[in-house]
């Protein structure tokens, strides 16, 4: 039985729009050309592969359903009230293998001492063995390092085999589509001779597959990133946080885009009092410090949720509403920049001959804006979308840290950092939640930054020549 959260619906809408854009862009040379330019850049394509992996994880995590509880003799199969996603099915082992409390990455003993009952009835105070991490070892002190190395090597070998297989298939398909022999195709790959930077993509892909295989293999026996205060696997949290980061980065833009485009075009095209009103509107919104506006709005949302607690079926639904609301608020604080850029560009474009000609032919204002102005400012929109993305992912962490971000019950990198800040004072230090959040965020934001640089260089007509 599928469950569709509001953000899920928006994500599917976004997927649909991106697909439609791809189909449209394929048929139009002026849109194809800059994307071909992006595809020629090795760094950008490596970044794109990483982004695709993140998006795949995020999409898997966006298909929600009520899992079916197994039927027993006395009861019929019933649906659980909790909500689960496809990603949860994939990561079922990670989710279920919990410990009692903190444990370090790849550890086999708990992080803190506890009272242990010995078989002879006595009690001692020592580090207990973990329920899951390294439970297959008889004598962890001596065997653990060798065992970890063994599993890393096995994972690496599997990764090598899989990436070789996948690469071979891709090269084979490439050879077929370019009508050259397999050997020629390999040769071309080695010399990076294709118009699209396949070499960089294959290398990145292989590295990701190998890393994933190693982590997967290790996670069968250990907690790769340790466990947190309540004993939940940190790797699981970090992967589940991917969706939150992506939703904030993309939905915010999706929400604000129609307003920014409409307002920007109208202000630039009509000028006069419409321009004055729109300028007044965005200067006013802009002058309220963004963080404070978000804080005020989230406070008010909390009041609303507190007073209407009965309207929500589950904690997930409430968290989801808050996520969407956060996107909308971030959108309200960030649409002004794009609007101002579009207004300035439209002011220039409206004086150009083709707009004047359209006016002379009696084309309505609406169609001039949609058919003549909009396509000519789309590159600004495209550049803004990709540049804003990384900033929004970072903003989520900061906002969640000061408790005005996503719901505390939701998995997000900001919440992981927030939860870890008190652990920093412990001795020895509990660093792995921070490390996991750092690694996952850094890779995503770095990839997004590199990709957005390439998109900007390719789409901005001033930089293109």
């Amino acid at each position: 039985m599928p469950v569709i959260f509001i953000t899920d619906a928006f994500i599917f809408l976004l997927v649909f729009m991106v697909s439609a854009y791809v189909l449209y862009a394929r048929q139009h040379e002026h849109l194809r050309a800059p994307w071909h330019d992006v595809a020629r850049r090795p760094l950008a394509m490596s970044a794109a592969i990483i982004l695709v992996v993140y998006v795949a994880v995020g999409l898997l995590d966006s298909v929600h359903f009520h899992p079916e509880l197994e039927a027993t003799e006395t009861t019929q199969a019933v649906q659980s009230t909790e909500v689960s996603s496809l990603l949860d099915l994939v990561l079922d082992d990670l989710r279920k293998n919990t410990e009692r409390t903190y444990s370090a990455p790849l550890a086999s003993y708990a992080f803190s001492k506890e009272m242990i009952d010995l078989p002879n009835g006595k009690q001692i105070r020592d580090y207990p063995r973990l329920k899951f991490g390294g439970v297959h070892l008889n004598n962890p002190e001596t065997e653990r390092l060798a065992d970890i190395s063994k599993h890393i090597v096995i994972g690496l070998l599997f990764g090598l085999i899989i990436s070789l297989l996948v690469s071979t298939v891709i090269v084979f398909i490439l050879g077929k589509s370019h009508k050259i022999s397999f050997k020629q195709a390999i040769n071309k790959i080695c010399h990076n001779d294709f118009l699209v930077s396949w070499t960089a993509m294959l290398i990145t892909m292989s590295l990701i597959i190998m890393a994933a295989c190693i982590i997967f293999n290790l996670s069968q026996y250990y907690h790769v990133f340790g466990t947190d205060k309540v004993g939940q696997d940190v790797l699981y949290q970090a992967i589940k946080s991917v969706r939150t980061g992506l939703v904030i980065g993309t939905l915010t833009t999706l929400v604000m885009l129609p307003f920014a485009i409409m307002m920007g075009l109208m202000a630039g095209y009509f000028r006069g009092w419409i321009d004055d009103v729109i300028q007044y509107l965005y200067t006013t919104l802009n002058s309220i410090p963004g963080v404070l506006l978000i804080a005020a709005s989230i406070l008010l949302l909390q009041v609303y949720i507190g007073n209407h607690a009965d309207d929500f079926n589950s904690i997930e639904e409430r968290a989801d509403l808050r996520l969407l609301f956060l996107c909308i608020i971030l959108g309200i604080t960030s649409w002004t920049g794009l609007c101002r850029l579009l207004r300035a560009e439209t002011l220039k474009l409206r004086e150009i001959d083709y707009v004047q000609a359209a006016q002379a032919f009696g084309v309505s204002n609406m169609s001039i804006m949609l058919r003549h102005l909009l396509p000519n400012v789309m590159h600004i929109v495209m550049i803004t979308i990709v540049i804003d993305f990384s900033g929004l992912v970072l903003a989520e962490a900061v906002l969640s840290y000061i408790n005005i971000g996503v719901d505390p019950s939701m998995n997000s990198w900001g919440n992981m950092i927030n939860g870890a800040r008190l652990e920093m004072a412990r001795e020895p230090i509990v660093w792995w939640s921070l490390a996991a959040a750092f690694v996952f965020m850094f890779i995503l934001v770095l990839a997004a930054n590199l990709f957005s640089d390439a998109v900007r260089d390719s789409f901005d007509p001033r930089l293109r020549h």
Binding site: T284, I288, L292, G306, I417, F442
Partner: protein
């Protein structure tokens, strides 16, 4: 010039009124004082008497816009809108929901904020301009390429990690300065070193890259070629012509944030336990003190608008053509 400045200030008032109305609607219309009272006093177990008392103590029991029962001018003045929103214009912030004088708190807490932000801004400008100019000087070489890559890498790290990393490395590992806290007078210096340093490092990535672009743009202009053709040395062109002209967009860009330095940084202050306006706001947010948040929203907007006016004035000083429009 005077008339231009007066006109700019006159334009600012409608914006301030807009901000005021937005905050008023957010805090008193979308959520009524009853909601706030319930939030403060606990959601479920609260009776009407307690709510009325809470509202009466804070003056939230008045009508929102129009007081039918009052006499003459008080029909307008004895309302929530006038008492709590209009009075912000004369910087009468009133009392916080917990009963403290907000105006006094602000006047006390702005100094620690300034102690962090002012050195941070000055040192930051010096560092970023130096880095940006160096990269622009070595344009196209390995220094430039690796510098830009480093900038992108540093941009991709969340500011939170710079703070945590700095606190751990300098405060806890090397024991050079205290991790957090604040003191009065000159004792405060040792508490400001770390936040200033962390803020500086955190901004390197984006600022250096941006300044490099500005300098590169400047280097491509005709006057640079003329200067070189006249036989000036590369360094002289760089320091006397490119640097001076590149400073114009950089410094006019800085002017807009100058007044906002009072507010301080929310994140840095809360991490380092600096008793400035940033942590004041954070505390108010977590204590759900609407009066303080409302005052800070308005104060922040006023400072930003002052920054905009100052920017316009600095443009007219730098480029007299602007004044003629």
């Amino acid at each position: 010039m005077i008339s231009y400045i007066l006109r700019r200030i006159a334009y600012a008032f409608p914006i301030l009124i807009g901000v005021n109305i937005i905050t008023f609607v957010l805090f008193f219309v979308v959520n009524t004082p009853d909601d706030m009272a319930r939030m403060q006093l606990g959601m479920k177990r609260v009776d009407d008497a307690a709510i009325s008392k809470w509202k009466e103590e804070r003056g939230y029991d008045k009508p929102i816009l129009w007081n039918q029962d009052a006499e003459a001018i008080e029909k307008i003045t004895d309302t929530i809108f006038f008492q709590n929103s209009v009075k912000l214009f004369i910087f009468d912030f009133g009392r916080s929901d917990s009963g403290r004088d907000i105006g006094y708190d602000i006047s006390q807490r702005m100094w620690p904020s300034l102690a962090i932000t002012v050195p941070g801004l000055i040192l930051g400008l010096l560092a970023y301009i130096t880095f940006g100019l160096t990269l622009a000087f070595f344009r196209g070489s390995y220094v430039d390429v690796s510098g830009v890559i480093l900038c992108v890498v540093m941009m991709s790290i969340s500011g939170l990690f710079y703070i945590i990393g700095g606190q751990y490395l300098i405060g806890k590992f090397f024991h050079l300065v205290p991790i957090s806290g604040y003191d009065t007078g000159f004792n405060a210096i040792k508490f400001t070193v770390l936040p200033v340093l962390v803020g500086l490092v955190g901004g390197i990535g984006s600022s250096t890259r941006w300044y490099r672009t500005i300098f590169l743009e400047e280097m491509g202009k005709d006057y640079v070629r003329t200067a070189k053709a006249k036989g000036l040395s590369e360094t002289r062109v760089l320091y006397h012509h490119v640097l001076m002209n590149g400073l114009i967009p950089i410094l006019t860009g800085v002017v807009v944030i100058l007044p906002s330095l009072f507010i301080g940084s929310l994140i840095v202050e809360s991490f380092f336990a600096i008793p400035g306006l940033g942590s004041y706001t954070i505390d108010a947010i977590s204590a759900q003190d609407f009066a303080i948040v409302r005052s800070m929203v308005f104060l922040g907007s006023v400072l930003y608008i002052i920054g905009l006016i100052l920017t316009d004035i600095s443009y007219t000083l730098v480029d007299p053509r602007v004044r003629l429009n």
